[in-house]
């Protein structure tokens, strides 16, 4: 069973992430823990001793109330591994610490899909994403599907994806499809027969087979990143290895309204 840490706040992105985790729970064996970080203003952080303890208790209760309200509103069916973990401090630092201490397999958070790619690049270049000790599922939408799309080629490594999916989807009904993408300035996405793509797809398939994961289908496609983004919406989520910065693949992932699993091994 995979151990997941889900970051929640009282906003649209978290509502979608919570619902999506609820949906994934019906397909996969995941033990999910909720984390919420209360980020106080610097001015608020005053006092020592009893004053400080009283202030901290108030902040924790406020964080607890935020998550209770969200859970009550969303009425999800899934159960969680324990009570919500409420922290006070810098969001990225607190999440990173919990991920290191708790030995999680996956970190999940909501991120609103925005047409500006820069937002997504900032996210994947953040300390949290680059330094997290596990894979990250960035939930953008509620995609109802039992098929996962895995991007290969263009410097994206299949091994971290196979490693993550082995923990996440083994013994489930979910299927995996491999997608090799190359850029071409055309209106609609085209399926191509390329030897180079075939070779990469074949090698990638072997990485998954070594983990006992079957590949149900493979595609080699070419087109713009927007066209690929729209093609990817048919999947439950799109998986690939975490990229250090901007690339042809991260551009497509930024354009896609679908959720993205950024894998590490």
């Amino acid at each position: 069973m995979a151990k997941a840490l889900l970051y929640l706040d009282e906003n649209l992105a978290s509502s979608i992430a919570l619902r999506y985790v609820d949906y994934l729970n019906s397909l996969l064996e995941i033990e999910t823990f909720i984390i919420h970080v209360v980020e106080p203003d610097e001015k608020e952080q005053a006092g020592t001793g009893w004053v400080r303890r009283t202030w901290e208790t108030g902040m924790l209760e406020s964080g607890q109330a935020t998550i209770s309200r969200l859970l009550k509103t969303e009425k999800v069916k899934c159960s969680f591994g324990g009570p919500p973990i409420i922290k006070i401090g810098d969001k990225e630092r607190e999440i990173l610490q919990e991920l290191r201490v708790g030995a999680y397999d996956i970190f999940i958070e909501g991120h609103l899909p925005i047409s500006k790619s820069d937002d997504f690049f900032e996210l994947i270049e953040s300390d949290l994403y680059q330094n997290a000790p596990c894979s990250i599922l960035c939930v953008k939408n509620l995609s109802v599907s039992k098929t996962i799309g895995v991007l290969v080629g263009n410097g994206v490594q299949p091994e971290p994806v196979a490693f993550t999916l082995d923990k996440l989807i083994k013994n489930s009904e979910m299927e995996i499809e491999l997608i090799h993408y190359s850029f071409k300035d055309v209106d609609t996405l085209e399926f191509v027969n390329s030897q180079e793509a075939e070779l990469i797809l074949k090698k990638s398939k072997e990485s998954f087979l070594q983990k006992g994961l079957n590949i149900s289908n493979s595609h080699a496609v070419t087109g713009t990143s927007e066209a690929l983004g729209d093609f990817l919406i048919n999947y439950a989520f799109v998986a690939c290895s975490l990229m250090p910065s901007k690339s042809i693949i991260s551009e497509a992932l930024a354009q896609s309204p679908n959720s993205v699993l950024l894998c590490k091994d």
């Binding site: 906003n11 649209l12 509502s15 979608i16 619902r19 609103l112 899909p113 925005i114 047409s115 500006k116 939408n141 509620l142 995609s143 109802v144 209106d187 927007e226 729209d230 919406i233 048919n234 309204p257 679908n258």
Partner: protein, 281 residues
């Protein structure tokens, strides 16, 4: 709900009958088919009207549908030469042939008199959207109507409905229209919100409405997604979206779109769209 279908004798009008009939029978709307023509040009008007009625009736579900239309219907001629047929099943069906010098004015007048909720009309395909012999008719109707307007291009069915949402004041009827478009074309729905300097335009209420719509479609097992665009990139995005599928735009009084959407931009949207355009009011 009352729908006004505005038609002339050309193929782009004939081609909207399927969508129009499906929409009417799915929503159980009262329907008025308004056929506009220049008196001199129209030969055998009865034959044309019968063809329209038979096609509408076929797609509207014939006996199972809400309209009771006899196989041999008789047209009544009014004193000013107009032809009218009216019948009432569960819902009302009116067919009118009007000889008008200014068809766009006549469509708007009839829509107002009938208190129509939606005007549906077709137009020529390609990088233009016209009625034969009348410059800019679809644009005028879209711009000046008090109700929603659906312009169907003589083109392929949309694979995606791209619906821009920037206000929470959205009527159940307009949501139902979007729902019908998704169902009729078996299309996906992309709900697009606007992102400003201070976050989502319309903030909490719009976010809540987006979630409601997303959950609604999700629970029905239909493909729906939300996405946000920077409000400064709206023109660029809309130009791109017209190539992706049918664009649905709320242009109510509280809508940010109605404030920033100039007549020129609306005309551009209608002309550049490869599929159809739905203006919701």
């Amino acid at each position: 709900m009352r729908i006004l279908g505005a038609l002339d004798e050309n193929s782009y009008s004939f081609n909207i009958l399927k969508d129009l009939a499906l929409l009417c029978s799915n929503t159980w709307a009262d329907i008025t088919l308004l056929v506009l023509s220049d008196k001199k040009e129209l030969k055998e008007p009865e034959k044309l009207l019968k063809e329209y009625v038979q096609n509408f009736y076929q797609f509207a579900g014939e006996k199972e549908g809400p309209y009771k239309i006899p196989k041999d219907f008789k047209l009544t001629k009014t004193t000013n030469g107009e032809l009218i047929f009216r019948t009432k099943g569960i819902k009302e069906f009116i067919l009118k042939l009007i000889f008008a010098k200014d068809p766009s004015k006549e469509i708007l007048k009839q829509a107002k008199e009938l208190e129509a909720d939606l005007i549906v009309l077709g137009c020529s395909k390609g990088m233009d959207c016209q009625w034969k012999g009348i410059v800019g008719l679809p644009h005028k109707v879209a711009r000046d109507a008090n109700c929603s307007v659906l312009i169907i291009k003589e083109s392929t069915a949309p694979k995606q409905i791209i619906s821009f949402l920037d206000q929470s004041n959205v009527s159940q009827e307009s949501l139902e229209l979007i729902n019908q478009m998704v169902t009729i074309h078996d299309a996906g729905l992309k709900i697009v919100g606007l992102m400003g300097e201070k976050g989502v335009v319309g903030k909490d209420n719009v976010e809540k409405k987006m979630l409601e719509i997303l959950y609604y479609y999700n629970e029905k097992g239909m493909k729906a997604w939300i996405t946000f665009i920077d409000k400064n990139e709206i023109e660029e995005y809309i130009a791109r979206a017209t190539g992706e599928g049918m664009v649905a735009l709320w242009m109510g009084k509280k809508s940010f779109f109605s404030k920033i959407f100039s007549t020129n931009l609306l005309i551009k949207l209608i002309e550049h769209a490869k599929s159809s355009v739905l203006i919701l009011r």
